[in-house]
């Protein structure tokens, strides 16, 4: 089983990100479970969502305490919420930012991970470029696929298009594709 935990703020599409990941896994014939940590719905409040992927039926119903991958949609959470709780140093870490780790104050932390397991992605900028709104989730999903090798790009794009029909889906898919490509080509 592969477990992903996504952190962000209300309104950034954190929950949707988890759902799209689960749909992508489904498209690949996997079992997947996606759910948010539930709290009062409010723009700007910290939100966490989870996604589990497995080849067999997933029966477990607890939050993801030991993620294999962590996606941080909003780096302003970094020193406010214990984002890294349970993350193994063999896991994956993906942060939505243009800044360097040192600027974020997590330089030493990041050094514990294999270099190709950790990645930043200018997801908000990609979203603004392709979609016109600062919703970084699609780009981050593309980045996740690239970094983790757990999902194919095609599945991710199909899932995005399923979740967002029409023009909106195409643009989000474009953002995801660019995020994916920029990681794979580096």
């Amino acid at each position: 089983m592969f477990q992903i935990r996504i952190h962000g703020r209300g309104g950034q599409g954190v929950v949707t990100a988890a759902e799209v990941l689960s749909v992508a896994a489904f498209i690949e014939g996997m079992h997947a479970q996606a759910f948010p940590s539930f709290g009062s719905e409010r723009m700007g409040a910290p939100v966490t969502a989870f996604c589990r992927i497995d080849e067999r039926e997933i029966r477990l119903r607890e939050p993801v305490n030991e993620p294999d991958a962590l996606i941080i949609q909003d780096p302003t959470l970094l020193h406010q919420v214990d984002l890294f709780s349970g993350l193994d140093t063999r896991g994956y870490l993906l942060i939505n930012t243009r800044r360097k780790y040192s600027e974020l104050g997590i330089d030493d932390f990041v050094k514990q991970f294999p270099p190709h397991h950790v990645c930043t992605s200018p997801a908000t900028e990609l979203a603004l470029k392709h979609v016109g709104r600062p919703l970084p989730n699609a780009a981050l999903i593309g980045s996740f696929a690239a970094v983790s090798y757990r999902l194919k790009l095609d599945s991710v794009l199909a899932a995005i298009r399923q979740k967002f029909p029409g023009e909106v889906g195409e643009r989000n898919a474009a953002a995801a594709a660019e995020a994916y490509d920029s990681i794979r080509t580096n």
Binding site: V23, F26, H31, A32, F38, S40, L60
Partner: protein
């Protein structure tokens, strides 16, 4: 068709496949996504003449369903927690009138203190209202149980409550095989009411019944529930034949063969428990589990047969009878009466607190060694509790406990000291 879909939407689609004629509901977290999706489906035109009624309260929701069902329409509503209590009078009324209404209860804790997260206190509060109560383990089972529920309700003229864990199931995306219309039609025939408001054959429904007949009427209602003990498994069998998978029934046994410690639970937590049982078995511990699907009627005989050879039974439940302890546990003990099998109670998940494998392993190891506290309040923060108890011993202050605790922690503004 296999879909990756939100639980509430799977339930809504299952309801739609059952060709409801009147849908009425009042929104309450965490059931809202079900009724929202149903309103979309109703407007899409695929439900024919189905009437979707936006009601002004849960009490009105059940009342509209009562009128609709009495007039011969297949009726559906959904609620949770406070809403279920608000309609309590009507819930009893529907059962007493023998109306085959199907209702989803998105299980949620009951206040005060207000809490929107999952536990089973709502269903437990209305367990004796005369409704059949079925609990879903997964969203697949949630969808399937609704289809079985309509057939069950209409066959027996008893309303059916399908309990689906709020948030944990309702808001989780997972794989569900949503049946096709043809199969559902084959399984669920059109509603043929036993009694009906019809100008061509006028009858009066709902008269007052005095002491001379009330007991008999009540007994007959009880008898119908007991009949359901046989009907529920047969409908589950018919379901398996039509749809090719097992769902529902009275209980489900998991690795109970040779199990010394058997955990009993309702709803989604059984999934986590199955994982824990596998891990215990891998470690050489003879553990097993029993899922109770039908809480009412309570499957006394089936449970006894499943549990009588165990060395001990642990009932894990998401509810608490204040002043007594476990509700499901008490029911399970009744199934085992006369047998020397200890039944331990674990109270867990109240108000949505996560039930983790780690905590379960620890508790079940204690149970297996017969050293478990009984009842055990899983993951209770005894520090907070003891601190509050100590404070209460010193100084009497009335008011809600929750606020008192927060006040001590300095999180609630009060008088400046």
């Amino acid at each position: 068709m296999l879909k990756q879909v939100e639980g509430s939407h799977a339930v809504a689609e299952a309801i739609a496949l059952c060709r409801p004629e009147v849908i009425c509901a009042y929104p309450i977290t965490p059931q809202t996504h079900i009724v929202e999706r149903l309103s979309e489906i109703a407007r899409s035109g695929t439900l024919g003449n189905c009437q979707y009624v936006n009601v002004e309260s849960e009490f009105a929701a059940m009342s509209v369903a009562i009128g609709a069902s009495a007039a011969g329409a297949r009726s559906y509503t959904a609620t949770s927690s406070q809403g279920l209590l608000f309609m309590a009078e009507a819930v009893y009324n529907a059962a007493g009138l023998g109306l085959p209404i199907v209702m989803t209860v998105g299980n949620r804790a009951i206040g005060a203190p207000i809490n929107i997260w999952n536990d089973h206190s709502d269903s437990m509060a209305l367990a004796n209202a005369g409704w059949i109560q079925l609990f879903a383990e997964s969203n697949q089972e949630a969808a399937d149980l609704h289809i079985q529920a309509f057939r069950l309700a209409e066959q027996l003229s008893v309303p059916v409550m399908v309990c689906v864990d709020g948030f944990i199931l309702t808001h989780a995306y997972e794989r569900v095989d949503v049946p096709d219309q043809k199969s559902v039609d084959a399984y669920l025939p059109p509603f043929e009411p036993v009694q009906l408001l019809d100008p061509d054959e006028p009858i009066s429904i709902g008269a007052m019944v005095g002491p001379e007949a009330f007991s008999e009427v009540r007994y007959l209602a009880h008898h119908k529930q007991m009949q359901a003990i046989d009907v529920i498994p047969s409908l589950a069998d018919a379901f398996a034949e039509t749809f090719g998978r097992r769902s529902g029934g009275l209980i489900e046994e998991y690795r109970t063969d040779g199990a010394e410690t058997v955990i009993v639970a309702l709803g989604s937590v059984i999934g986590t428990i199955k994982d824990v049982v596998d891990e215990m078995r891998d470690a050489g511990v003879a553990a097993g589990a029993v899922k109770i699907v039908s809480f009412r009627p309570f499957p006394l005989a089936a449970l006894r047969a499943a549990l009588e050879r165990a060395k001990r039974v642990v009932v894990l439940e998401k509810d608490l009878a204040l002043g007594l302890g476990g509700i499901a546990a008490s029911n399970v003990r009744m199934a085992l009466r006369g047998l020397p099998v200890p039944v331990y109670t674990i109270i867990a998940g109240l108000g949505g607190r996560a039930i983790t494998k780690a905590s379960l392993h620890k508790a079940l190891a204690e149970a297996h060694g017969d050293t478990i506290e009984d009842p055990l309040f899983l993951d209770l923060d005894w520090q907070i509790v003891d601190h509050e108890l100590a404070r209460e011993r010193e100084k009497r202050r009335s008011g809600p406990v929750a606020e008192n605790i927060l006040r001590e922690l300095g999180l609630v503004g009060g008088k400046l000291r």
